[in-house]
Amino acid sequence: MAEKKAIELLETKIQELRELNKMEEIDMSGEILLLEEKLEALKIRTYSNLSDWERVKIARHPERPYALDYIDKAFTDFYELHGDRIIGDDRALLVGLAQLQGKPVVLLAQQKGHSTEENKQRYFGMPRPQGYRKAKRIMALAERFSFPLISLIDTPGAYPGLEAEEFNIGGAIANNLLAMAKLQTPTIAVIIGEGGSGGALAVGVADRVLMLENATYSVISPEGASAVLWKDKGKTKQAANSLNLTAEHLLKLAVIDEVIPEPLGGAHKDPQKTIASFKKVLTRHFAEVCDTPPDELLAARYKRYRSLGCYRTLSDNR
C-alpha cells in the first residue's frame, strides 16, 4: 500500500519535471531519467509479486479494458448480431462478425458496463440464457461459413435469477459445451478479465485458451468459496490464494495455453499496451489454428479436454 503511494508520488514528480523540461533554459533530462529508473524498479518490486487476491482485484478493476475495447482496437469492422431468435437479446454477451488480419471471424464477447446504467442493462456482465443461446446460434453460423470463433471472456458468472432458471440456464450452458466440443471451425478463447465458472466456460471450450496475466478463471469466486467452505465471509483472501485462479497457476495446470503479458500494475495502467500485447499473442495462435486442418483441430480439441483432470491410480494392494 505504501509502495503504491510512493509510485504515485514519483509519477507526479516526473510529470512536473517534464513540464519544467519544456522550458528552453532548463534541462532536467538527467534528473528525469534517474527518477524514471527508480520508478521502474519500484514498480517491478511492487507488482511482480502480486498475491492472487491482488490479481483478483486487478481483474475486476473498473478501469480495466472490457471486451468492446479489444474489439475496437484489435479487430476491424465489428458487425454486431443480436438476439437468440427465441426470447431476447442479452447485452452481457455480445456476438458478431469482425475482421482479424483481413479474415472474417465470429466474436463472442462478454461485456461489463462502465456505468451503473450500463451495468443495469448488461446485468453486470452476467449473461442470461438468452445470451448463451445467441452464442450457440452464432456458433452454427461460424461453422456454416468456416469462420473462426473467438471468445472474449469476462464475467463474474452466469446470471443467477428466477428468469434465468425458468429459461433453463443450466441446459443452455450444457448445450453450448456440447456445441463447442463438436464445432467444425477453429476456436480461440481469451480470458481478459474475470472467468467466472460455468458462465465463462460456456463460451470457453476451444482449440486455444489464452489468458491475460492478471485475469482470473475459477470454479467459484473467492467470496463464494469462503462462504461455502469456511462458512466465514472473512476468508476471501485465503480462498483466492487456494483456488489457483491466476494465469500463472492455470498455465501449470494445462488449462490455458499461454499467458498474455500486461503492463506493470495491470491492464488498466496502459490499455493500449495491453491490447497490443493481446493482439500479438492472439494473432500468432490465430494463424496457427487457421493453418491446421479442421480434422486435426477437432482431434486435438477432443484430446485436450478428454485428458483434463488430475487423479491417482489405486494399486490393488493398497
Partner: protein, 279 residues
C-alpha cells in the same frame, strides 16, 4: 485407508449409522419406522412417502435386474493438485468421505442389466462430499460413456450432486467440458444417453452432462437447477416461487422430459430403453 484392501474397493458397506439402531424417526412425519422396512421400501417412508437418500449402491440395486451389477469403475481416487486446505486438508476430507461411504469417490460405474437390456450406468452418491464432481467423477463418467461405446449399449447417469468439487478448483470446472466432449462421441455413435436427475442435480452437474441426456427423467422430489436459492437471494434479493427448482418447476419450464416416482423409476428406464435397443 484400510477399506481399499481388495480390488472390490468400491463395494458399498452398510452405512454405520444405519446399523446402530433398528429404528429411525422419519424427519417428515415423525413416525418411528423399522429401518429395514424403510430400506426395503427404496428408502421411502412407508407412512408419509418421504424419500430419504439412497446410497449409490442402493440406487443401483433399486434399478437393475437382481444380481446383474458388476463394478467397472476405474481404480482411481482424488489427488490434491492444488494442495487445497479449507477447514481441513483436501486429502483428509477425501479420506473421511471414503471411510464414511466405503466409496473411492462420489460415483460408481457399473455394468448392469435392466429388464434384460445390458447398459452401463453411473450413479452418484451424495454422501461423498455432496456428490461433488471433481477429476475422479469426470473421469469415471467419461469412462462409463466409453464403455458404453465399446459395448455399443446405452449409458445411464443418475445424478445426485451439488455441483463442482471446489477443492480441485478449475480442474473440477473443466470436468463439465470433459464430460461434454465425450458425450459428443456417444452421440456420434448414436448410442442413447438417459439422464436421471435426483435430489439434488444442481450447478456444475446440471449445467453440463446431466442436461445433455437424449431423455431426461427426474425422480419425484428432485431439486434441479443452476443457482441455488441462497445465491439468488444473496445476489438479487428476488422473490422465488415455492416450487423453485423442484421437479414440477423443471417440467413446467420444459427442462426435463418426465418425472417418475422412485418406485417406478426402474419401469420407467425399462420403458424408455426398449425404444433404443433393437431386439
Amino acid at each position: 485407508m484400510a477399506i481399499f484392501k481388495d480390488k472390490h474397493y468400491l463395494r458399498v458397506k452398510l452405512d454405520k449409522e444405519t446399523d446402530e439402531s433398528l429404528w429411525m424417526q422419519c424427519k417428515s412425519c415423525g413416525e418411528l419406522v423399522f429401518k429395514r422396512r424403510v430400506r426395503e421400501n427404496n428408502n421411502i417412508c412407508p407412512y408419509c412417502g418421504e424419500y430419504f437418500f439412497l446410497t449409490a449402491r442402493e440406487r443401483i440395486e433399486s434399478l437393475i435386474d437382481e444380481g446383474s451389477f458388476t463394478d467397472i469403475s476405474k481404480p482411481i481416487m482424488a489427488a490434491d493438485p492444488l494442495l487445497f486446505q479449507d477447514t481441513k486438508p483436501y486429502p483428509q476430507r477425501i479420506e473421511d468421505a471414503q471411510e464414511k461411504t466405503g466409496l473411492a469417490d462420489a460415483i460408481i460405474i457399473g455394468s448392469v442389466v435392466i429388464s434384460e437390456i445390458a447398459v452401463i450406468i453411473g450413479v452418484m452418491d451424495f454422501r461423498f462430499i455432496g456428490g461433488s464432481m471433481g477429476s475422479v467423477m469426470g473421469e469415471q463418467i467419461c469412462h462409463g460413456m466409453e464403455e458404453a461405446i465399446r459395448n455399443q449399449c446405452p449409458f445411464i447417469l443418475v445424478s445426485s450432486s451439488g455441483g463442482a468439487r471446489i477443492q480441485e478448483g478449475i480442474l473440477s470446472l473443466m470436468q463439465m467440458a470433459k464430460t461434454s466432449v465425450v458425450r459428443a462421441q456417444l452421440a456420434e455413435q448414436r448410442l442413447p444417453f438417459i439422464s436421471v436427475m435426483t435430489y439434488p442435480t444442481t450447478a456444475g452437474v446440471q449445467a453440463s452432462i446431466a442436461s445433455l441426456g437424449d431423455v431426461i427423467i427426474a425422480e419425484k422430489g428432485a431439486m434441479i437447477g443452476f443457482a441455488g436459492r441462497r445465491v439468488i437471494r444473496g445476489t438479487i434479493a428476488e422473490e422465488l416461487p415455492p416450487n423453485y427448482q423442484t421437479d414440477s418447476f423443471a417440467l413446467e419450464h420444459g427442462s426435463i422430459d418426465r418425472v417418475a416416482n422412485r418406485e417406478h423409476l426402474r419401469e420407467e428406464l425399462s420403458n424408455v430403453l426398449r425404444f433404443f435397443v433393437r431386439q
